[in-house]
């Protein structure tokens, strides 16, 4: 590259020189974005496999408005646990569905955001559907940056209306509604660190059971999964980010998330990741994650006729367990002077091991429900 090409390339990163760009402070999103992502998720023991295809685009409309659209297609195959049974030795065994399950979920979401000087407001909505499931949702949010852009407060609210018509039970139509509220604060502490804290409240009402799951009642047989008709959830995420100037601007991200719901589940997530820039716009991110939860107060692996109440579930997601995860992500950015300004390629692999015995404080449920899963993600992000 010649001198003039090198300087022109640097100049093209200036907001005022971008095609469609504006020489104005405060608005970060001034470009068209198009992203494509593919992810493959797979569980051990022949359980679930999910392939996710996602396409999203962001476009500025005039000076202040940004529109976005997001399309997702998931295909799900493999077996999933239906119930646990006690074998003749009195040991619990998990009973999986046949491996023929094939589901396809399609989702569409659209959004608009409007930027004032220090305030950003957004509105959005979407639908997602499977052959037996339809969900419609609306959301709105606002964020306010003040204190010389060192502090950002944000609020979002969303509501979803879901309908489920279980396969083989076509005369049954169940519905639920969900409300979710988030309040967050991001505080820049100094030039090397920032702290973020988000609190989420959610309330779900209606049919919250899983129509494809059952419980085993010793001496009696099977009963349908039956959960409370309402659920309150509270989560608090705290994230600390620290930049190390001496290590080529590497960053440590440390997250802790506390989760509590009124079904009796308390969850804790600790996640650490190290963002290490290396030469030529390469970024390598190793990460470690630990999650633990205790069981819901109406969960049992199997039930006795004596102790089963109206509310009962043996869903593996409601039991006590712990998950240890490690992952590695690589990203590479290309900055260009042509029509496409930037291309970013990302590849990530995560491996997780879930075991009852990893639950903090101990768990004597046994290993019938232990499994591992991995996820591989590849994405391309383009900016025009």
């Amino acid at each position: 590259m010649s001198l003039i090409e090198r300087l022109s390339l640097a100049a093209l990163a200036l907001p005022g020189l971008l095609v469609g760009g504006e020489a104005q402070a405060g608005r970060a999103e001034e470009l068209y974005h198009a992203d494509f992502q593919y992810a493959h998720y797979e569980e051990s023991k022949g359980r679930m496999k999910v392939d996710v295809f996602e396409l999203s685009a962001v476009a500025p409309i005039g000076d202040k408005i940004t529109a976005s659209v997001d399309l997702v297609r998931d295909t799900i195959s493999g077996a999933s646990p239906i119930l646990n049974i006690k074998n003749s030795d009195g040991k619990v065994e998990q009973y999986l569905s046949g491996a023929s399950i094939f589901e396809q979920r399609d989702a569409l979401a659209v959004g608009l955001s409007y930027a004032f000087d220090d305030v950003n407001v957004s509105f959005g909505g979407g639908v997602s559907g499977e052959h037996d499931y339809l969900s419609r949702h609306l959301n709105t949010g606002a964020s306010w940056t003040f204190n010389k852009k060192l502090t950002t407060l944000s609020f979002t609210a969303s509501v979803a209306f879901d309908e489920i018509t279980p396969t083989g039970q076509s005369d049954v139509k169940n519905s639920k509604t969900s409300q979710k509220y988030l309040m967050g604060i991001t505080q820049v502490i100094n030039k090397n660190s920032l702290l973020q804290s988000n609190m989420t409240f959610a309330y779900h009402k209606g049919y919250l059971s899983d129509p494809y799951k059952a419980v085993y009642v010793e001496g009696v047989g099977l009963e349908d999964d039956s959960r409370p008709r309402h659920k309150f959830q509270w989560a608090w995420l705290t994230r600390y980010v620290h930049y190390f100037k001496t290590l080529n601007k590497a960053a440590l991200h440390a997250d802790y998330r506390l989760y509590v719901d009124d079904w009796g589940i308390n969850g804790h997530t600790l996640e650490l990741s190290w963002h290490q820039p290396i030469a030529d716009d390469w970024l390598i991110i190793p990460r470690f994650r630990y999650y633990t939860q205790n069981e819901a107060n109406f969960y049992q692996a199997t039930f006795d006729a004596m102790d089963i109440g109206d509310i009962h579930s043996s869903d593996y997601r409601l039991t006590g367990f712990g998950t240890l995860g490690v992952g590695l992500k690589l990203t590479k950015s290309f900055h260009m002077a042509g029509y496409i300004k930037e291309v970013k390629l990302q590849m990530a692999a995560d491996y997780n091991d879930r075991k009852a015995s990893y639950q903090i404080g101990g768990n004597d449920e046994g290993s019938f429900d232990d499994f591992s899963f991995y996820m591989i993600t590849a994405s391309i992000n383009m900016r025009f």
Partner: protein, 304 residues
């Protein structure tokens, strides 16, 4: 049928310089909107980058030098700092936006030459590599250090206005801010815009015409197409602390005005090696040496 476009002319004072803008519009609503967008853009840039305004972002950064307090920056400021860093690297440290402290020693109102001690004191406050910055913050660690986007912001403003007008469907026009020129697009009849560069050694102007791109100059002369008024330019070498010697004036033609402007300043800073450097980098230029000899290389542009 599409109506014929008409010419809008604006003359005003901004960024410490006389400015002239001409562009073609199709209707008065477009004219009104374009004018307000231009004023908004210029006042916004002055508000953020003028050293003469105590409440500007640049003044805030300068006032906080050595105080331990850093300043949050936005994407634009980050872009300008990144651009300035590129200029610093390309020039082996000659183009340094922390050279502002020298200006106080060589200001036009000064009657005597600064002492060696004064120069040494000023040089201690210079050095791009001293700046502490991240993508969100900047801090000058020594009290008295100054950032000065003098050689960048006016040219960036010309590019920005051209882009703003293009975004609003204006295809034909010329922006001139204190002698730095950016073309939006040819005149509606297809003709290029006539530009004149004054030769500082005599009164013969060099005339050329531009369909697109930009022209920016550095040195002790004024360039004009529709210009009047006087401009003083003192290019100070951050390594010696003294005004550069070798070239009287340099004009550069390239796509972006901000690039033309920084290359012109860089050539001046190169002093006696400036001419060889201009040739070596195959730039489109016009320059005048101190003895009045002129040189030019304007391959891709039409001379009238």
């Amino acid at each position: 049928m599409r109506e014929a476009p008409y010419l809008v002319k604006m003359s005003f004072h901004a960024m410490g310089s006389p400015c002239h803008i001409q562009f073609y519009v199709f209707k008065s609503a477009q004219e009104k909107h374009a004018k307000s967008v231009i004023k908004q853009c210029l006042s916004g840039l002055e508000q953020r980058y003028s050293r003469y305004r105590k409440d500007s972002l640049i003044s805030l950064i300068n006032q906080r030098a050595g105080s331990g307090k850093e300043t949050a920056i936005d994407a634009e400021m980050l872009g300008l700092l990144n651009y300035a860093e590129q200029c610093y690297q390309e020039s082996d440290g000659l183009f340094d936006i922390t050279s502002g402290s020298l200006r106080n020693l060589w200001g036009v109102d000064k009657q005597s030459l600064p002492s060696e001690q004064q120069l040494a004191n000023a040089r201690a406050l210079i050095g791009w590599q001293k700046i502490e910055r991240t993508t969100s913050h900047v801090y000058l660690p020594i009290k008295g250090m100054q950032l000065d986007f003098g050689g960048i912001v006016k040219e960036y403003a010309a590019d920005s206005i051209a882009q703003l007008l293009k975004n609003r469907g204006i295809e034909s026009g010329i922006i001139e801010l204190g002698g730095d020129i950016k073309i939006i697009g040819s005149q509606p009849n297809g003709n290029a815009w006539p530009i004149a560069i004054r030769n500082p050694s005599n009164q013969n102007n060099l005339q050329l015409s531009l369909h697109s791109g930009s022209l920016a100059s550095s040195g002790d002369y004024e360039r004009f197409q529709m210009i009047d008024g006087v401009r003083y330019s003192h290019i100070l070498n951050p390594k010696t602390g003294k005004p550069t010697q070798g070239l009287q004036a340099v004009s550069i033609i390239s796509e972006h005005c901000v690039v033309s402007g920084s290359l012109a300043t860089l050539a001046m800073l190169k002093g006696k090696q400036g001419l060889a450097w201009l040739k070596e980098n195959k730039l489109d230029f016009f320059c005048c040496e101190e003895d009045g000899t002129t040189h030019q290389h304007l391959s891709t542009y039409t001379l009238i």
